[in-house]
């Protein structure tokens, strides 16, 4: 009785809607990481790319007076960062992890710097002229009870993240180019010897991941709020990396793991308002989920091996027991 009462209170339509919204930047970042991983490129710069997208979107929306244009500029800016990443990685053979670290740190400080120099803002900045991305009601869908209110009435970036998951799935697994991407990721020299342009594939995935991550960032600054604060992504890029690993770098898997982290986040927020659990503990929840996810992914192979080994021992003991019994009969 009591439990049901609590769960009704805690999980409301609003919480699920908020989970869907919070999942959006994670899904987009995770798709970016996943497509790079499929091509054998370790893109740990998702966090930086996302932050850059958030910054570019709000600045462009302010300067151009149109939020949609702001989003487009953010996507282009993310692509540019991806292209820069690709150029340095492919041309100068810089180690990917070091490059990503540098990029993340540089973008974090650069946004703070420009905020201060251009807008004179410390820490966070907003302008009343900036419009939030409008919510879009989908005809017909919004008529359906429960599903309608859940799935309809989100902004364009939310829908794009879902569409991108399915589109990337089709590209990766049902087109020539997607197959070439996976071939490059799994055995680069196999791809090279059949004449696939490996550099082209890597440049493409890095630009695309920049676009996706930056779009996720734009959602934060002009979709969810109309505000930019320093380090606005707050680790969402890293959560996206986790979601991608947890979803085994599969676009559809990533859609679900991203939603899972989004819900964990929304649930944590909700818990803070309806229970007395200390907020610091509750805010920790999504990170615990991420930690558990990473441990599961990491231990997957080992666990499978250990289980197989245990079965083998049991079987072997039975066999030995059987051979011992036989002569007595």
């Amino acid at each position: 009785m009591n439990e049901i009462q609590i769960s009704q209170d805690i999980i409301t339509l609003a919480v699920i809607r908020s989970g869907i919204r919070l999942a959006t930047p994670i899904i987009l970042g995770a798709l970016g990481f996943a497509i790079c991983s499929r091509a054998g490129v370790l893109n740990f710069a998702i966090e930086g790319m996302m932050l850059f997208g958030a910054f570019a979107a709000i600045v462009a929306a302010f300067l151009l007076g149109n939020t949609y244009l702001g989003v487009v500029v953010a996507i282009l800016a993310g692509g540019l960062i991806g292209a820069f990443f690709a150029a340095v990685y492919l041309k100068y053979r810089v180690d990917l992890v070091i490059l990503a670290l540098a990029l993340n740190l540089f973008i974090a400080e650069m946004t703070v710097f420009f905020l201060r120099v251009v807008f004179g803002a410390f820490g966070s900045w907003s302008d009343p002229s900036i419009q939030q991305l409008p919510e879009i009601n989908i005809p017909l869908l919004d008529q359906i009870p429960i599903l309608g209110p859940l799935l309809s009435g989100h902004n364009i970036i939310v829908y794009t993240s879902w569409f991108a998951s399915f589109a990337l799935y089709v590209v990766l697994f049902h087109t020539r180019f997607g197959r070439h991407i996976r071939a490059v990721g799994e055995n680069q020299s196999a791809a090279e010897t059949v004449g696939i342009d490996v550099a082209r594939v890597k440049i493409f995935v890095l630009i695309l991941s920049g676009c996706l991550a930056a779009l996720g960032g734009a959602f934060l600054s002009v979709g969810h709020l109309t505000l930019f604060t320093r380090d606005m992504t707050g680790g969402r890029g890293w959560l996206a990396v986790t979601a991608s690993l947890f979803g085994l770098n599969h676009p559809i898997g990533v859609l679900f793991t991203g939603l899972f982290f989004g819900f964990a986040d929304a649930f944590a927020v909700r818990l803070q308002t309806v229970t007395d659990i200390p907020p610091s503990l509750v805010q920790f929840l999504p990170n615990v989920a991420a930690l558990v996810a990473l441990v599961l992914v990491g231990a997957r192979g080992k666990l499978r091996e250990e289980l197989a080994r245990r079965r083998f021992r049991q079987r072997a003991q039975q066999e030995v027991a059987a051979t011992v019994v036989t002569p007595a009969e």
């Binding site: 049902h174 087109t175 020539r176 180019f177 197959r179 070439h180 996976r182 071939a183 799994e186 055995n187 020299s189 196999a190 791809a191 090279e192 010897t193 059949v194 004449g195 696939i196 091996e305 289980l307 197989a308 080994r309 079965r311 083998f312 021992r313 072997a316 003991q317 030995v320």
Partner: protein
Amino acid sequence: MPAVEMQGITKYFASSQVLANDAVDLSVGQGEVHALVGENGAGKTTLMNILFGLTRPDRGTIRLNGTPVQIPHPNEAIRLGIGMVHQHFKLVPSFTVAQNILLGIEPSRYGLLDQRDENAAVKKLADEFGLPVDPAAVVGELSVGLQQRVEILKALQREARILILDEPTAVLTPQEARELFTVIRDLAKRGQTVIFITHKLLEVIEVADQVSVMRAGRMIGSKPVRETNLKEMARMMVGREVLLTVDKKPVEPGEIVLEVEHLLVAGVGGHTAISDLSFNVRAGEIVGIAGVSGNGQTELVDAITGLQPVDGGTIRLLRNEITNQPVGDRREQGMAHIPEDRLRTGLNLETNLDENVIVSRYREPEFQHYGLQDRAHIQKLAEWVVTQFSVASARPGEDIATLSGGNLQKVVLGRELSGSPKLIIANQPTRGLDVGSIEFVHRTLVDARDRGAAVLLISVELDEILALSDRILVLFRGRIAGEFQDEQATKEQLGILMAGGVIEEEAS
């Protein structure tokens, strides 16, 4: 008119200061099986890489069917009808057979792929050449022999008329090798030209029409196979007489050094790798374990050396139980291990000779000075290895990455034998080595045995097992399928047991 004519091919690698090809001429006839033999580092692979467009020659001309061609890139080679099957396969493990064969040339409709079209295309190709494969099978789950077949089909799909095979049998079991030879002969009959690189001279006699021998970047000579013999080819290859058999004293086995009882080991994925296996090795004898690769050799060696946990049974070294002891303890008690993969397990190519030589013995007080490494002593040990094992071009304190396969194996041998071990586990000790180095490794193992060491030799090369072993055990599916004293064993008998057959007792 020859299908391939290479003239005056010269290639100098400035980075390693090696003249890999020195005015090399090669002529290969249409529909011919042409063996290109030579020791490691003789320049065979460089010559073929030039023909396939992977390396650009400094000088020289290439003609295909009389027409001069430039081959700056593998794409051009493929366009000209040249296909190459590399020693390390260029396959994508998670892709199916069809996806691998059609990689880069996939048929697609509106950019979308159709699995059924692809499978049908590959099926047709496989039928046409009589090379059966399952187009929908995942390549990573296939045996090495079948993976190689996929590589050959990949070249044929691209309409290769000239097929280059780089050491195709190095990774194959004897049965798979025999199948490959049949395939090669069939292809030649259809008018395909096959060039295959090898240093196993028996294979040349078995399958080739013509043989070209290279040594130290030069072409020594080219002859029809029927006009030459093993001894002559070996002499051309090495530049001196080669002992094809190993002289050894009669065996005088001493006490039991290694004793394995009812050993049980799980393989990857929990299948049975070693099942209720018992045997022993005595001091002063070489026990050979014959068997097709994949019958539990790796797991057996890993269990004895402590690299893999044992699931049942006991292992004793000089009457001490070592079943669950760590590797270091086993080594301290006199175990030495020559691993099957010298590049990954045997050596660290990133570091220098000294560190590679000391890695198994750094704990010994002799090499320590108040808890720090004693450089002078370590260097002395490295010098000893270089001189005792005549490791050409290696010097103490210098990197080993540029050494040839034979010299690398000598470094491993030097390290493992330096502490006069009581038990030597030698797993595929001559894999991928040239004739000269094989001779050296064999000599070294026999010397160690004559000094009283117990040697456990695991090899998929039957000739090696027969040449060295005092006692032979045949491993089949994790069990011992038969045991022989050296003089009783014949190749035929071993071959039957290795394939899982039973030797029928002759009614005498």
